[in-house]
């Protein structure tokens, strides 16, 4: 991001007129701001961007942008984004949502979107809680958090490791940002959008209301990812005969930066649109075959 580049649209031009319903101090404000910055930096025309989401406080994001958007179903942002991108490869498609949306009810789509490696940017605003439904434990909530009446003794189960799962599932780009650092986050998002494949951006985005301590404790605990390790060799698709694929993950969940970045080719089982074959002729030929 060289200072020489002066974007033709300012970040705020990407904002719609809808006022966020978020609580004052919510981490998601930082993500919104970082995203508009990234889009402005990339100079993507607003109408060529589509931001789709699930349900949750975080998933309210699309309406706050002056781009095309879809506020879909809880947990289903990724399939919706996948269908959109597969049908309209010309668009910049961004999926966004929360930790509950993406890792609890949407966990299966997360696994398979990572594997499928379609060219999407997926931003998860992880606040380690269900904000929208008033403070239940999410998969990333620490096991000993007892503030939810639904799990009065805590969940008792270890927190979900989004980066590890993404790596094990085959994601080709993994980054982690912090909503308290919108500038750094905007750069990660920009790179994720540029990545030609599935790019997962894990954002620590504290919930002011239900986990009021995260804001300050995360601010202190985050650090550059550099010293840690995320590596994958020999994914099954490009493994040499006889070699042994290996994954290594060393991650305290608080390291910021690009954790993993290995471009892979596009999905091959999709006939892309826009090659504009002669539909009518194809149909005629197919109908003729029915006489055989």
């Amino acid at each position: 991001m060289t200072p020489a580049m002066i974007p033709s649209l300012r970040a705020r031009d990407y904002l719609s007129e809808v006022k966020p319903i978020w609580c004052p101090g919510c981490g998601h404000f930082g993500v919104l701001s970082a995203l508009t910055k990234a889009l402005a930096y990339l100079e993507r025309p607003k109408h060529e961007i589509a931001v789709v989401s699930g349900i949750g406080c975080s998933s309210r994001l699309p309406a706050y942008l002056d781009c095309y958007g879809f506020h879909g179903l809880h947990g289903r942002a990724l399939p919706l984004a996948t269908g959109l991108k597969a049908a309209r490869p010309d668009l910049t498609v961004i999926a966004a949502g929360g930790d509950g949306d993406g890792f609890s009810i949407g966990g299966n789509h997360f696994l398979h979107a990572c594997r499928r490696d379609i060219d999407l940017c997926y931003i998860v605003m992880d606040n380690a809680v269900y904000g929208m439904t008033k403070g239940q434990a999410s998969p990333t909530t620490p096991p000993d958090w007892t503030q939810s009446a639904l799990t009065p003794h805590g969940t008792g189960i270890p927190a979900f490791r989004p980066a590890a799962i993404a790596l094990a599932s085959g994601a080709s780009f993994i980054a982690r940002g912090f909503s308290g650092d919108p500038h750094g986050l905007s750069e990660l998002i920009a790179r994720a959008i540029l990545h030609p494949g599935f790019a997962f951006v894990h954002v620590l985005s504290p919930c002011r209301t239900y986990r009021p301590d995260d804001q300050s404790s995360w601010k202190q605990a985050v650090h550059p990812f550099g010293e840690h390790l995320l590596s994958a060799t020999e994914t099954p698709i490009n493994a040499a005969q006889g070699s042994t694929p290996a994954l290594q993950i060393q991650d305290d969940g608080l390291g910021l930066g690009i954790l993993y970045d290995v471009p892979r080719g596009p999905v091959s089982n999709n006939a892309t649109l826009g090659t504009s074959p002669d539909r009518a002729a194809a149909l005629d030929a197919i109908e003729a075959e029915l006489e055989a």
């Binding site: 789709v52 399939p79 919706l80 959109l84 049908a87 089982n269 649109l273 197919i286 006489e291």
Partner: protein
């Protein structure tokens, strides 16, 4: 057993055998041979529980006029062996005028076959096959049956060549040799038989084999796929499930040729949400599934409806509930298709009436969904989807305007009339997306409009960015919990479906041509060809249409004035048109499910007279014409003789009586 001699309008042939015996291949070859002779036909198949290699039966019905169903009984059974034949007892429907051909080496004829009192004849399928190197008993059977039926040998050979084309040349030659052996043996044998018909006579009587353009040989699943291509569906996402997978497998290579995309999803939740995404992107989208998958899709279908994003879900139904009967048919998903969504979520429900109609209905359903910005559910079933038929190419669906584009919103009403009759069935009512024209000011995505349809931009169109919304929202799409916004948007959703003019496609109504005995009498004026007004309505939907149609034809031949009504558009129900159609008739509502689901639905909508009766019975057996006739006589207390003396139907029935009929009728159905 003589080919279509005299009055016989069709013949039903079954081939049975254990795993690997090739009963299905034999059936397919006979069907293709019939196609090659200008005949019509259809073939159903039934298999044991084994995943592969289990015993199976193919049942074909062939005839010179369109074959709508499998008929009441099997005329001719070729049993390659007897293993587990009892499994198919119900489906075979043999009787004392059936002929059973069986292999002498297969052992004793099972009791179930003996009990049918069918005529038995031993044919040494396997011994004859052994005469040829690579010879197979099922090909001998093809020859024998072809000869029995009276299909010409060249047609059988050509069919075998086409269907076995991918195999080694030697295999194909062996098959043809076996077919010839079987054929010649049969025909020669007949020459010596009492009926004295000669080979020459037979060959003359046989339908001609020609190379000229033929009728189509297609399954309902393939026809549905074709409908998708005709509708310019450009995106398919789905998860495999029996009996819908074949529709997807037919589509996968072909949609690619037509420039579209097919994606195997991780589950049905993903599939339906992928459709919503693709369609939001401006590309007509479809999925196919069966009951369990439809259950998983209801939330996504609701999103499509609430966000006004068109999608089409094809349900190739199987027996239910739950995992149910994966390989067998039932019409029991109607309730879920009509009512299965939470909240008030008006949408389209359609059902094809026969194999070819799968193409017409899928195309229409997709185009209607596009125009009305809603979800359509199309109810096919295993009996349509996995039936292979020889049919006339099905017509294209009626013209439907394409998505309402934002540019044309003002010129909408005037454009509509002219475009409605344009040659291109789905001209979008606006300039193409590439137009450089930019609007003065943005139009709210969910703005009210006289027809209830708000113009819908696609991503990529500058100036119209909007966020599609599944929450209650205002005209702009901003979430709103105001009672007024909620009410306005709910009535828009309902109104756009009600206000649309669906034309005649909502149902097939057949009042019959002049009955047979009317046309043979030369002194009748031509006006006699006009059907007489009906006094009885047989009202049905989906795969039951064929058997109902045949039942009606027979009843008409007995002099009853019967009309058949096959509903293609189930929701929104065309109440007025349906009321007009059944006005003054006695109505029997016919369907293959335990719950009398259509009957109840029609009552819910108050379109039926109180005298209407229900014939509903569960699957998986295909509906047979005789069942319909028996029920008609039973429930409407009506035999052909009785009708003339019976008083014309009116709504006089005692109230008490009629209110009891839901339970009575459906219980009767369930008890069958």
């Amino acid at each position: 057993m003589v080919w279509l001699s005299g009055d016989q309008q069709s013949i039903t042939v079954a081939i049975s055998g254990s795993g690997g015996s090739g009963a299905l291949t034999a059936g397919f070859i006979l069907l293709a041979a019939a196609q090659r002779c200008g005949l019509y036909g259809l073939m159903m198949r039934s298999a044991g529980p084994q995943v592969r290699g289990g015993e199976s039966v193919s049942i074909l019905r062939l005839g010179p006029s369109p074959v709508t169903n499998i008929g009441d009984r099997v005329d001719l059974l070729a049993a390659l062996d007897w293993r587990n034949i009892e499994r198919f007892h119900d489906e075979l429907a043999l009787d004392n005028s059936s002929l059973v051909l069986h292999d002498s080496s297969a052992g004793a004829v099972p009791d179930s076959i003996l009990a049918s009192a069918a005529e038995q004849r031993q044919i040494d399928f396997s011994r004859h096959a052994a005469e040829h190197s690579d010879g197979r008993a099922n090909m001998i059977a093809v020859g024998v049956l072809g000869g029995e039926i009276g299909l010409p040998l060249p047609a059988l050979a050509d069919a075998a060549e086409t269907l076995l084309g991918k195999k080694a040349a030697a295999t194909v030659e062996a098959a043809k040799a076996c077919i010839a052996t079987g054929y010649r043996g049969t025909v020669a044998q007949r020459e010596t038989r009492a009926d004295g018909e000669t080979l020459a006579q037979r060959e003359t009587a046989a339908p001609a084999f020609s190379d000229s353009p033929r009728r189509w040989r297609i399954s309902g699943n393939a026809a549905a796929g074709l409908g998708a291509l005709r509708a310019e569906v450009g995106f398919v996402a789905a998860y495999p499930i029996t009996p819908a997978s074949e529709m997807l497998e037919w589509l996968a290579p072909r949609i690619e040729r037509a420039g579209g995309t097919l994606l195997q999803a991780e589950d049905e939740l993903a599939a339906v949400n992928m459709l919503v995404g693709a369609s939001f992107g401006g590309v007509p989208a479809l999925t196919a599934t069966s009951g369990p998958g439809l259950s998983l899709m209801t939330e996504g279908i609701g999103l499509a409806i609430a966000s006004e994003t068109p999608i089409l879900v094809v349900d190739v139904a199987r027996g239910g509930p739950s995992t149910g009967l994966p390989t067998k048919s039932e019409q029991a998903d109607l309730n879920q298709a009509l009512y299965g969504l939470h909240g008030d979520a008006p949408h389209l429900v359609l059902a094809p009436l026969d194999v070819g109609d799968c193409a017409y209905s899928v195309e229409w359903a997709s185009r209607l969904a596009e125009r009305l910005q809603t979800a359509a559910i199309l109810l096919s079933d295993q009996a349509l989807g996995q039936t292979h038929a020889v049919i006339d190419p099905p017509p294209r669906c009626p013209p439907v305007l394409g998505r309402k584009r934002i540019y044309a919103a003002s010129a909408q009403d005037s454009a509509q009339d002219s475009a409605q009759h344009a040659e291109q069935p789905s001209a979008p009512d606006s300039p193409a997306r590439t137009s450089t024209q930019t609007p003065a000011d943005s139009i709210a995505r969910y703005a009210p409009s006289p027809d209830g349809i708000s113009p819908m931009p696609s991503p990529g169109e500058p100036g119209y960015a909007y966020t599609a919304e599944g929450l209650a929202h205002n005209a702009k799409g901003t979430p709103s919990s105001s009672a007024a916004d909620h009410r306005d948007q709910l009535s828009k959703l309902a109104h756009k479906l009600k206000a649309h003019d669906y034309g005649d496609g909502w149902a097939r109504i057949d009042r019959g041509r002049a009955t047979k005995h009317a046309t043979v009498s030369a002194d009748k004026p031509i006006a006699a060809d006009q059907p007489a007004p009906a006094t009885i309505s047989l009202l049905t939907w989906g795969s039951s249409w064929g058997a109902v149609q045949e039942a009606a034809n027979r009843l008409r031949e007995q002099g009853l004035q019967v009309q058949t009504i096959g509903l293609r558009l189930l929701a929104p129900l065309q109440q007025e048109a349906l009321r007009a159609a059944i006005e003054g008739t006695r109505v029997l509502v016919i369907e293959v499910n335990a719950g009398a689901q259509l009957f109840r639905y029609l009552n819910a909508e108050r379109v039926l007279p109180l005298s209407a009766r229900s014939f509903a019975r569960p699957g998986p057996l295909p509906l047979r014409p005789f069942e319909v006739i028996a029920q008609l006589q039973d429930q409407l207390n009506l035999s052909p003789q009785a009708q003339d003396s019976g008083s014309k139907h009116s709504h006089k029935d005692s109230h008490k009586d009629s209110r009891e009929s839901v339970a009575t009728a459906s219980q009767k159905g369930a008890r069958r």
